[in-house]
Symmetry: D3
Subunit: 262 residues, 6 copies
C-alpha cells in the first residue's frame, strides 16, 4: 500500500524521533538524515548524495545534481516513496519506513540510478557513467544508466545485482541479491530482458537476452532464464522451465520464493 | 582443531613478528593490528572496529561497544577464536592464523555480526541495524542481527552472503560466498532455515524458507534448497535433490565441494 | 582486435579530451586520470593505486610498487592494454577505451591482481595478501595472488568473482560477475581449475576442483562444473552437462550466453 | 569600490572560466567552486561549508545551516560581497575576485563567523561554539560568535587573529594576521575593544580591554593598545602612543603600515 | 577553584545533557564525547586521541597510548581536570566545563603534550616527537615533549604558542596565544625560561633564554623578556622593563592584561 | 655545515633504521617516508606531497608536479638539503637530520613554496596560488609563490610566518615563528623587504615595506622594522632601532636572540 509522499514523510519523522531517542549514539544520525530536513526530497538527496560523494565529486555537488534532476522530473521523488513502501509492505524484516531509506543498499542504489538515468537522458553521458561506477562501488549494485526501471521496486539485500543497458523493468517488481538482467552477444541494440509489472525474481536468478517476462511471473532462485516467460507463470531451473502457474496475486508482493511444482 | 584463546594469541604474535619483519611496508600494520595489544580481545576489537567505524560512529566508539559486549558475553571471544581455527583447519590457502584475522571479509563480518546480535538481544535495535548496514557495506555480507550463529564458522570469500532474520546456524558450519539463507513470504515469524552442526554449504547455494538442514549435510554449489535435508546427506540441483550420503566425516571440515552422485 | 600500447594511449587521450570537455564537473577527473600523464603505464599506476591506497599503505606507496613491478615485468602493461581492448571489443555497452580504465571494477581488480601476483612471485607474501584484501574490499573481486591469469581478460560487472590459489586462466577469457574458479577439499596442492584460451564463463557459474576447461569452451550462466570440459564445448546445468558444440569462433569474443542445446 | 552581488558574481564567473581553462588540473575545482552554481550565495555556502564540515557535522549539513541563515538575514551575503571587494581593492597581491573566495583564510573565516554569529543570536549557543571551533581549526582564526563585525572587512593572511566576545568592529576595517582584539580581566561584561569604521590594525597588534578606537585610526604593527585611540590617529609602540595624525583617507583602504612619526 | 575529578565529571555530564538536548545536530557529539563514557579519563582519551589520530597512527592506537600513560601516571588526569577548572575560573567567555574539553585548542594541546612528555620520559623519543608534530598540526601549538609543565595551566586561544625543550612552567600559569618560551643560542643545555606559579603571560609576549620569571609575575602583551623577572612584578615593552608591582592576587587568576605603570 | 645530497641521504637512512627499529608503532612510517625510497628527491616528493594533497588535487598528482619541477630545476633538491642542514646545525633541539624532514612545519612549508615558486615562474599562476593555500592550511605558513628565497633557510616553529609577494630572502637566513616580511600600501610593485645572507629574524618580528636588511643583521624578537638595517647590525624595538653591532659570525647561525644593547 503506497503512501503519499507527505504521509510517508510524516511517518518517517515520527519514527526517527523514537529511534533516535532510544539510542543516543545515533540521535544526530537520525536528526541529520531525517529530522533536520523540511521534506522528503531534501532528506533523500542528503542521504544518497552522502553515500555517492567522493574526492573527485564531493557530496554537496552530487546533491545539487539530485536537486536539479528532482526539479526537472517529479516522478523521481514519487518513485522513491513507492520504493520505500514496497520494502515496507513486502519485507517482513522491514518494520519501519526509515529502514530502506537509511540502511538498505538496494533502495539506495536504485535512487542513485534514477539520477544517473536522468543524466543519461539529458545526454550527460560521462556524468551518468561516473555515477554508475560510484553506485557499483558504494552499494555493489550495477545498473546501467540507460536501463529503464518503474516504481515500487524492491531489491532485497542487493549485493551483486546487475541490470544491463537495454533492460526494461515494470512497476512493483521485486528482485533479490545476485539477480542479473543480462545481455547476450557482443552486438549493440536491444539485448536485455523486459520485465513485466509485479514480477518476482528470486535470489541469484539470471535472466539473459532480449526476452520478455510477463506480468506477474515468478522466477525461482538460482534459475537461468533464456526464453520468454508468460504472464503469471513460475519458472525454475538451469535452464529455467515452467513449473507452476500463479493465480490470485502478484508474486512480487507476497515474496514467496517457493516453487509450486505443477 | 581448536586452540585455546591464549594458544591462538601466542601463535598470532609469533607469526606477526615474522611477517612484519619480512615486509617493512607492513611492519607497523602488524604491530598496530596484533603486537601492540596485550591480548586477543583487545586486538580483535581494534581490528574489527577499525573496519566498521564511519563518520557517524567513529571507530573508537565502535570499539567501546565491542568491549561492552565482550565483557558481558565471554562467548563472543571464544567463538572468534574458534572461527579463526576453522579457517586455518579447513582452508588450504590459509596457512597462518593471522590471515582470517587481518584479511578475510567473512571472518571479519561474522565478528561484527556477533556484536550486532548482542545489541539486538539488549533491545538496542537501531544500533544493531546500523552495524548490520556497516557490515554489509564494509564486507558485502548481510547477516541480520537477530539471526543465531554458532561458533567455528567459516565463510570463505564471503562476498554476497545473506543470512536472514530467523535463521539458525549450528557450530562448525562452512559456507562459501554468495550463499543465501533466505526467507519465504512476506509474513513475519519463522521463515528462514535452521542449519545443523558441521554442514557445508557450497558457493552460491540458496537455502530458502523455514526448513531444516540436518547435521553433517552437504549442499552442492549453486543448489536451491526448498525442502528439509536429512543429516549426513548431500543435495544438489535447482531445485536440490538428494545425490549422496556422507559417512565418515563432517563435510564442513573437509570442504569437498564435489557431488558424489549416489 | 588489440591495439599497441601507444595506439591505445593515443585513443584514450583523444577520448578524454572529448568527455572531459563535455562535462566540466569531470574535466579535472579526466585530466588527472589520463591527460596529465606522459604515457599509459603512468596513468595506469595512478588510477589503480588511487583505488587501492588506504591508511596503512597510502596510494603513493602503492604506486611505487606498481612502478617497481611494471619495470621488472613489461608484460604487466601489455596485458593491461589487452584487457582494455577485450572490454572494448566484447562489451557492447563499452564504446570507448576509457570506460574499463576509469569505471569497470573487473578491469581494475585484474590490474591490482597482476601486481599482487608479481609480489607473490618475488616472495613478498604478506604484501601480496595485503593487496588481495584491498582488491577484495575495493572491487568485490577475490583473486588469489598465486593464481595465474593470461592477457585479454574481460571480467564484466565483476562483483563476487572468486579465483582460487592454484587456478590457471588462459588468454582472451571472458568471465562475468559471480563466477567462481574454486577449490575442492581441504588439502593443499592443485585443487582449482585450468581454463583454456577463449573460454566464456557466464554469470554465476561455479567451476570447482582441479579440472580442465578446454580452449573455446562455453560455460552457461549458473552452471556448476565439476568435471573436465572439452575444447569448443558448451556445458550447462547443476551439475553441468554438455549441451552443444561451438564451431566458428571463440565464445569469449562473441559473448553469446545462450545455450545452443544440441 | 564595492560591486553589487550580481556584478561581483558576473566577474567571478568570467575569471573562473579563464583560470580554470588555463590549468586543467584545477578546471573542475573552478567549476565546482564557482561555475556550477546559479548565484553567489549558492557558491558561497558550497565553498565555506566544504571547509567547515567534519565527521560530526558533515559539509552538506553545514551548508543547510548557511542557507537557513542567509535566507533569514540577507545582510550576510551582502557583507560577504563587500569583504571580497575589500580584499580586491586593498591587497595588491589580490588581482581577481576569486582569490579571497577560493584561497584566503581570513575571508573564509569571517564568512564562517557570520553564520556562527547568526546562530548565537538565535540562541543556538552550542552550535555557534561548535562552528567557532571548526573555524579556529580550519583557518587558525578565533572569532567569538557573540562579537559584532561590520562589512567590508579584510583580514590579510589571518593566522592567529583573535577577536573576543564583546568586541565590536565597524565597516571597512582592515586587520592583518596575529591581530588580537582581546579582553581584560576575568569578569564577564564588556571587556573587548570597539573599533571604528575604516581603521587599519597592522600585523601582530594587540588591542586589549573595553576601549574605543576611533574612526580612521591606524594602529602600527606590533603595538599593544591599552587606552582609547582618537579618530584619524596613528598609534604605535608597546604600550602604544600617538605618533601621527591621518588626514586625507581611511588607513584601512591604503594599507600603509608605515608610522609617520609626528 | 579546582574540583575533584569526580565532581568535574558530574558537572560535565549534566551540562552535556543540557547542551546536547538543546541542539539535536550535536546530540550524538555530546554523547560520544562525554555521556557515552564511564568516567573522565575515558572521555579525555577519546576526545584528544580523536584529534591526534592520523593515517600512520590511527586514533584507536593513540588512545591506547593515552591509557598506558594515564595508568602509569595518575597525575596526568588530575592535571587535566585542573586545567579545565583553570579555564572555567579565569576565562569569562567559558561558562561551562565542557568548553575547554570540547572546543579549546589550548587545553587539548596541553593534554596531548602531557602524553608526549610521558613518552619522552620513558625514552620513546620518536613517538614523542611524532606526537609533538601531530599536536602542532592539529592545534597550532608547539610544545617540546621534554619541557615541564605544571597543572592548572590555561592557554587561551593558543594559536602560535611555542614552548621550548628546556622550559619549566609552574602551576596555575596563564598564557595567551602567540606566547613564546624560547631558547637562545645554538648550543644544547638549559636555554629556555623557568616560569613560576601563578604567572600571567599576555598575548604575543616572547620570553627568551634561560631566565627566571618569579611567582606571580605579569608579562604584558607583546613584551620581549630577556632578563629575569622578580616575583609579583609586572614587566612590559620591547625589551621588557618593570612597570608595576602586583600585591593582592596572582595575575594568572584575574587575567588583567593592563599595565599598571608604576 | 652542509652535506652533499648523497651524504645527507645516507645519514637519514641510517637514522631511520635506528628510530624505526626502536618504535614499532612508527616502523612503517619511517620505512614509507625514508627507507622505501631510492634517493632523497623521491623521499622528499613523497613526504611533502603527502601533506599537500587534498580532495581536489590528490597527493599522487602533487607528487608528479614535484617531480616535474625537480627535474627542471635541480636547485630545488640542493636547497632542500641545505635547509635540513640549517636546522640540524642551528637548532639544538634538532639532533638528527630526519627531524626537519619528518616533523618541522617550517621546513615542509618552504619545500612546498619552492614548487609553487617554480609553477609561478612557468606562468601556472592558479596552480601556484592553489598550492600557496594548501601550504597555508597545512603548515600555517603563508609564503607568496612570487617571493624569492635562497637556500639554507631555517624557519623554526613556523606558525604564523608571512612572506609577501615581492620579498627577497638571501641564503642561510634564520627566521622564527610569527615573523612577517610584509608589504606597505595598496599599490602594486616592490613593497616587501630584501633580506641579506645570514640574517637572523627573531620570533614575532615584523619587517615591513620595500626596505633592505643587510647581510648578517639581527632583528630582535617582537621588533617592528620600517627602515633599512645595515649589515651586521642588531635592531630592536617597536619601531626598531639599532642596539648593537655583530662582529665575528652570522647571527643566523648562532641563533642568539639576545639583544646586546650597545
Amino acid at each position: 500500500m503506497s503512501l503519499s509522499v507527505a504521509e510517508l514523510w510524516s511517518a518517517m519523522t515520527t519514527e526517527a524521533q523514537q529511534y533516535g531517542g532510544n539510542e543516543p549514539v545515533l540521535a544526530s544520525f537520525y536528526h541529520a538524515s531525517i529530522l533536520n530536513h523540511p521534506d522528503f526530497p531534501a532528506a533523500l538527496s542528503f542521504q544518497i548524495a552522502g553515500k555517492l560523494g567522493c574526492d573527485s565529486v564531493p557530496a554537496m555537488l552530487v546533491r545539487d545534481v539530485f536537486h536539479e534532476a528532482m526539479a526537472a522530473d517529479p516522478g523521481i521523488v514519487r518513485a522513491a516513496a513507492d520504493d520505500i513502501c514496497a520494502h515496507f509492505d513486502r519485507d517482513p524484516a522491514c518494520d519501519h519506513y526509515g529502514m530502506p531509506f537509511l540502511y538498505f543498499k538496494g533502495f539506495q542504489a536504485v535512487q542513485g540510478y534514477r539520477i544517473a538515468h536522468w543524466l543519461w537522458q539529458q545526454g550527460r553521458i560521462s556524468m551518468a557513467l561516473f555515477l554508475q561506477n560510484r553506485i557499483a562501488t558504494a552499494f555493489d549494485v550495477d545498473i546501467h544508466p540507460a536501463a529503464t526501471l518503474g516504481s515500487g521496486i524492491m531489491i532485497d539485500h542487493a549485493t551483486g545485482l546487475v541490470i544491463g543497458e537495454t533492460a526494461v523493468v515494470g512497476n512493483n517488481v521485486s528482485m533479490l541479491h545476485s539477480v542479473t538482467l543480462g545481455g547476450c552477444g557482443s552486438r549493440r541494440g536491444l539485448r536485455h530482458p523486459r520485465i513485466g509489472d509485479g514480477v518476482l525474481i528470486s535470489a541469484g536468478a539470471k535472466v539473459l537476452g532480449g526476452i520478455n517476462v510477463g506480468e506477474g511471473a515468478k522466477i525461482a532462485a538460482g534459475s537461468v532464464v533464456l526464453c520468454d516467460v508468460g504472464p503469471f507463470t513460475t519458472v525454475a531451473g538451469v535452464p529455467a522451465k515452467q513449473v507452476g502457474r500463479e493465480t490470485n496475486e502478484l508474486p512480487a508482493l507476497n515474496m514467496d520464493q517457493n516453487i509450486d511444482e505443477a
